[in-house]
């Protein structure tokens, strides 16, 4: 198991190198530089422009800029925002918990609903439920996040008034930041000071529901479809027949002997969906005014804030890699044939 993890870790090095090259290159391919964007419509004296670029180190040849960037990364230095002058790492850690909370909640929704729907659809193959789930998941998969988000707001917030429209919690609550996860902080605040924070936790949860559904629908649809097809495949396996021939209960046959094997490909899909989730978070955060890193990155791209874009995206990419790395390890645990492979 240990050597399995080491082998997987070693494979991460080229991935990370590739990401730094990509973000570094892509942001520089967008026309305009940070100085031009800051100046905006006003005319810019070429001498001042050159001086500003020199001060930022942006007049060096590209490969030198990249080496500088890589060098500071190796020292664990993510640099400062060109606009706010705040350390990129500090900005990231302040904003990230909001995105993390949204992503976890969306993934939870996607996995729980997707798995259940997929399993039941597979067992009741060809039934009305099966067709319903598959139809709905195709719809969910094809629906743009911003459109789904707006529809959800229209129905549940505006028409029915069940959920708040935007933000993480009612502005009346001034929740002290402890973990950065609003639901946890609200619960702690309510727990410690019930008089001032009555209903805070419930309010934080209510704010979380719609964005989670909006963000989690695509992964949910993918997981449901994958689970269904994987279950159907495994149900035909000889060892499932063996399990039945052993006189095991249908629940045991389905959830232990079938699902355990059917989960292996689903696990990979879940890992890959984390990427989709981080991408979707940008849109979801914009629609629901969710103060996370999605909004932060969009702003940084518009301002050509190179350090923020490079390192912000690097952080997100590292997160996706980390999750997929964990999935790889889980994959090894779930599938003994991989664990023992030479």
């Amino acid at each position: 198991m240990f050597s399995f993890i080491l082998r997987r870790l070693w494979l991460l090095v080229p991935s990370i190198l590739g990401i730094t090259l990509l973000t570094f290159g892509l942001i520089r391919m967008i026309p305009g530089d940070p100085v031009e964007v800051m100046v905006g419509e006003r005319t810019l004296d070429p001498a001042l422009h050159a001086a500003a670029l020199h001060r930022l180190g942006l007049d060096k040849p590209l490969y030198l800029q990249y080496l500088d960037y890589a060098g500071s990364l190796l020292h664990g230095n993510l640099g400062q925002s060109l606009v706010t002058r705040v350390n990129v790492w500090d900005e990231f850690t302040t904003l990230f918990p909001a995105t993390l909370e949204l992503a976890i909640s969306a993934m939870l929704f996607a996995v729980v609903v997707g798995l259940l729907a997929g399993v039941v659809a597979a067992i009741k193959r060809g039934s009305l439920f099966d067709h319903g789930v598959m139809g709905l998941s195709l719809t969910g998969f094809s629906m743009p996040i911003f459109w789904l988000g707006l529809l959800l707001i229209m129905l549940f917030s505006v028409r029915l008034g069940w959920t708040p429209v935007s933000g993480r919690i009612d502005l009346a609550f001034d929740i002290p930041v402890r973990t950065g996860l609003m639901t946890v902080d609200a619960w702690l605040a309510e727990h410690n000071d019930p008089a001032n924070f009555a209903g805070a936790f419930k309010d934080a949860l209510a704010h979380l529901i719609l964005p989670s559904i909006a963000l989690g629908t695509i992964p949910m649809a993918v997981i449901a479809r994958m689970t269904r097809s994987s279950m159907l495949e495994v149900l035909r396996e000889d060892y499932v027949r063996t399990a039945r021939a052993k006189g095991l209960s249908p629940a045991r046959v389905i959830f232990i002997h079938t699902l355990r094997n059917a989960l292996i490909p689903v696990l990979t899909v879940v890992g890959l969906q984390v990427g989709t989730l981080m991408g979707g978070a940008v849109l979801t955060e914009t629609i629901f005014s969710w103060p996370g890193i999605g909004k932060w990155l969009i702003d940084a791209i518009q301002r050509r804030d190179y350090p923020v874009v490079q390192n912000g995206i690097l952080m997100v990419a590292l997160l996706v890699i980390l999750v997929n790395f964990i999935v790889d390890i889980l994959y090894g645990i779930a599938n003994p044939r991989i664990r023992h492979a030479k």
Binding site: E237, D238, Y239, T242, K246, G247, L248, R260, N335
Partner: protein
Amino acid sequence: MSLLEINNLSVLFGAEAHPFAAVEGLDLSVSQGEIVGIVGESGSGKSVTMMAMMGLLEGQGRIVADKLRFDGKDLLTLSARERRKIIGKDISMIFQDPMTALNPSFTVGYQIMEVLKVHQGLSGSALKKRAIELMEMVEIPAAATRLDAYPHQLSGGMSQRVAIAMAIACNPKLLIADEPTTALDVTIQAQIMSLLVNLQKSHDMALILITHDLAVVAEVAHRLAVMYAGQVVEQGAIPDIFRKPQHPYTEALLSSIPEHSKGARRLNTLPGIVPGHYDRPSGCLLSPRCPYVADRCRAERPALLPNAAGAVRCYFPLSAKDAQ
């Protein structure tokens, strides 16, 4: 009284209006401690019969029978829950391909112990001890260390031994072996076969041996049922049925054994294939391929009629021809 009694069993697939009978009017009885061979070519309904009896067709096929009794219990009226108490315990089955019959995600120990837990409620060290005992019984070397092995770490022969250990875990009264050696190397085949026969003797089990290897049946079985296109065409004791086959199909099967064709340039074969869903003849199912076919065979379907040695489904049994 027989341990297993099957009377007029049919297994139907497909639409209600135009069903296809994979098994048609099958009669079979098996007594305690008896080894019964069922032979027939692929698609003759050997496996489907046993799967139907164990309730493993899972709503894919419809089962119709006059009688389906095991050990005094009527399997037709038993609820699914009651049936699950019997299968895996009193009736158990091993399958053709051991490499796919074991769950790749669980250790062989887990898979053996699962049966003991579910049917006998064993737990803890007694459970483990019994599992090791079973693995020793099927002659797996270093059984205690193999408990934690995964199926992919075992050879085909070892996997089949594990499958057998699982099947005999609760001392079944009836063991069904569905082509247990077909997927194995020739040298391993003999070992597995003798293991099965030894276990059958030591546990006084009934053993139904589904195979298309007549040589194996000739060696170990007491009785033989020959199936063709979903029907039993001949039943009888061994070695009578080998010495004097009554049905033309049995005769053809026997003459296709390579040892019986020594010196011949080509193996004896029966031309044609088993009729499928759409080309079943209205008369005797063998009539398009039978070398002795007569007009009556094409017009009517013969019934399985008892004779001196067993039963045969033919208007013109071969012994009668000899007499003429």
